[in-house]
């Protein structure tokens, strides 16, 4: 089996060496490079073509979010796992908008990094459990404070099913294959879901799913 090739990007050497120590004990993956700023992360990923980049959000010269955008512009198939000190949705939302698949809190990296790498390498999303919990709590609180009815109830059973699959990171084609329907039908469902939930982008859809606890 081919090993998963990983690039580490973090401006703290202590953090990088900790991550490296964690990963090197695994047999099914290898760390192919380290970068200590966003610009190096972009150039290294273009020269080394890693499968996954583990990217610190806050880095000098170019921050992780901008670096993610640049890397995905060059090679859209690269998976990016954001590494962050912040569980706040501003960071999560912007990371997702930039195209990151996973969002990992640094203090739970030791426990969750392997699961995250596993998920994103399969094309799925991954969020630290603390992030999922916080986003869900925030969502419920906001609904309560603003007195808004949860629009999730408006979705049909099929739509909920499709929402979950899409939120897990699957493409229209993959969802169609799973459910044995045409990709066009999936696209129609997708449009309905976005409209009913008042969402606009794939990133918002994923965030919504996280808030609702639909994906893990």
């Amino acid at each position: 089996m081919r090993k998963l090739r990983i690039l580490l990007a973090d401006d703290h050497s202590v953090m990088r060496s900790g991550l490296r120590a964690l990963l090197e004990r695994q047999t099914n993956l290898e760390v192919i490079g380290e970068a200590d700023n966003g610009r190096d992360a972009v150039s290294l990923s273009s020269s080394l073509s890693p499968d996954v980049v583990v990217m610190d959000v806050a880095m000098p010269l170019l921050n992780g979010i901008e670096a993610t955008k640049s890397i995905l512009k060059q090679s859209p198939s690269t998976s990016i796992v954001m590494l962050s000190m912040h569980s706040d949705e501003s960071y999560v939302m912007r990371s997702l908008n930039a195209g990151a698949r996973g969002y990992l809190l640094k203090d739970s990296a030791a426990a969750e990094l392997l699961s995250a790498l596993d998920a994103v390498s399969q094309g799925k999303s991954f969020f630290s459990s603390a992030v999922r919990r916080l986003l869900a709590e925030d969502y419920i609180r906001v609904l309560r404070q603003k007195g808004i009815v949860d629009s999730y109830d408006l979705l049909t059973a099929r739509e909920r099913e499709i929402l979950q699959l899409l939120a897990e990171g699957k493409t229209n084609k993959e969802v169609a294959a799973d459910l044995n329907i045409s990709p066009y039908t999936v696209e129609t469902h997708r449009a309905h879901i976005l409209e009913k939930l008042g969402l606009h982008t794939p990133a918002e859809l994923i965030l919504y799913a996280v808030r609702k606890g639909i994906i893990h």
Binding site: G18, L22, H86, Y91, D138, Q145
Partner: protein, 439 residues
């Protein structure tokens, strides 16, 4: 100065009074002299007239050879003439000072002897022999009296000239005095004006210096408060960075090592539980450090931009207090300079603090937009409101300070019971913000 002005005014008043007084005096004395002269001339004229008339009477009488009754009438006419001349002379003598009336007294004596002679002519018959010699005597007396009146008249005229000369001398003296007083008043005025001007110029310079000093100290104060705000912000950021990047990351790395340790196969159970405790402690530390760092200065402000930081702040306040915060950005590029980001962030922070603490608001709307090279921030709450003219706390001062040092305006619009609306306009042009302009 005041004394000088008083003196000048007094001098001018004195000048005016003195001139009027002197002119009055001159006028009255010159008219008195003229009156005197005319009166004397009139007297002399009366005397001459009486003399001529009496001469005519004498001639008529000597030619007419009158009877007793006619003589009586002649006598009566003569006496009338005499009385008239006498009265005139008397009144003249009365009005003359004693030392000047000798000529007139002399004239009066001569005149009296003439009247006596004339009387005697009418007492004798004109045909009598001695009448002729009497008449000659009388006529010669009359001629001498006439001569005397001529002399007196000359004397009178001489007097008049002397008096006039005296008057013109007095007039010249008065004129001289007026000139001296006027010149000295003018010089005093000139002196006063000059010293007043010098004094005013000095006063003005002094005032200008004071004004500039005030401006300077105002400017320094502004500069100081700007530096204070800057220093505070830098300090916060430095501590926040330090906490977040150094302490936080080290703790995170520690956590990771702990995880690595506990992942080693089959550790002793006491070691495993010890590791677990240390891990929990380290996690707690990480959370505390992160919260402290965020409170000092949210990293989103630097990592993600203003809107993300405002949204985070809104959520935090919302979580903590239940206040519903809507952050709305409208046509906003979120590429503000560092100073502007911090300014808006801190203003919103203060405003939200006020909403919770003073306004007891339930909902607040924070809108950020860009309009004509200006950043417009508006914060509207549904709280109890207040009277902005009466309540202005340190918080408002701080906001004001932050906004005005970027050349912006802060408008507080509120009424008790009507909520509060805060509007901030910050210029976004590339031109440097003018500093130290007195407002």
């Amino acid at each position: 100065m005041l004394f000088g002005f008083c003196a000048l005014l007094a001098l001018m008043a004195l000048l005016a009074f003195d001139s009027v007084h002197a002119l009055n005096e001159l006028e009255s004395s010159s008219s008195a002299v003229r009156q005197d002269y005319l009166k004397r001339e009139r007297t002399l004229r009366d005397i001459r007239f009486s003399l001529y008339e009496s001469g005519n009477l004498l001639r008529e009488y000597s030619l007419a050879k009158p009877d007793t009754s006619a003589r009586e009438s002649y006598l009566k006419q003569l006496h009338d003439l005499r009385d008239r001349a006498h009265d005139s002379l008397e009144s003249c003598l009365r009005s003359l000072p004693r030392d000047q009336n000798s000529a007139f007294q002399n004239l009066g004596n001569e005149l009296a002897s003439y009247w006596l002679l004339a009387d005697r002519i009418f007492l004798v018959d004109p045909t009598e022999a001695n009448s002729l010699s009497l008449r000659d005597l009388a006529l010669s007396q009359r001629a001498s009296v006439l001569t005397l009146t001529g002399e007196v008249s000359e004397l009178n005229e001489l007097d008049f000239r002397q008096a006039e000369a005296q008057i013109s001398r007095v007039f010249a003296k008065t004129r001289h005095r007026i000139r001296v007083v006027a010149i000295s008043a003018f010089s005093l005025g000139l002196l006063l004006a000059a010293s007043t001007i010098v004094y005013l110029v000095r006063l003005e310079r002094h005032a200008r210096e004071k004004y500039e000093e005030t401006l300077r100290s105002q400017h320094e104060l502004k500069e100081l408060s700007k530096r204070l705000v800057d220093a505070q912000e830098q300090e916060r950021r430095a501590i926040s960075r330090e906490l977040h990047d150094q302490v936080g990351q080290s703790l995170t790395a520690l956590l990771m090592d702990l995880q690595n340790l506990s992942d080693t196969p089959a550790p002793a159970s006491s070691l495993a539980s010890g590791l677990q405790r240390i891990k929990l402690l380290a996690e707690e530390c990480v959370n505390e450090v992160r919260n402290m760092a965020l409170l000092l200065r949210p990293s989103m402000l630097d990592d993600l931009g203003l809107i993300a930081a405002l949204e985070w702040q809104g959520r935090e306040v919302s979580k903590r207090t239940g206040l519903v915060v809507d952050v709305i950005d409208d046509k906003f590029a979120d590429d503000l300079p560092e100073d502007h980001r911090t300014c808006v962030y801190r203003v919103v922070q203060e405003a939200l603090h006020n909403c919770v603490k003073h306004a007891h608001a339930r909902r607040v709307r924070v809108v950020v937009q860009e309009q004509d090279q200006h950043l417009i921030l508006s914060i509207e709450d549904d709280g109890i409101g207040f009277d902005p003219r009466r309540h202005r706390g340190m918080g408002f001062l701080g906001m004001h300070e932050r906004v005005s040092r970027l050349g912006g305006h802060l408008i507080v619009d509120s009424l008790p019971g009507r909520g509060t609306r805060l509007r901030v306009e910050l210029p976004l042009s590339a031109s440097p913000v003018p500093q130290g302009v007195p407002s």
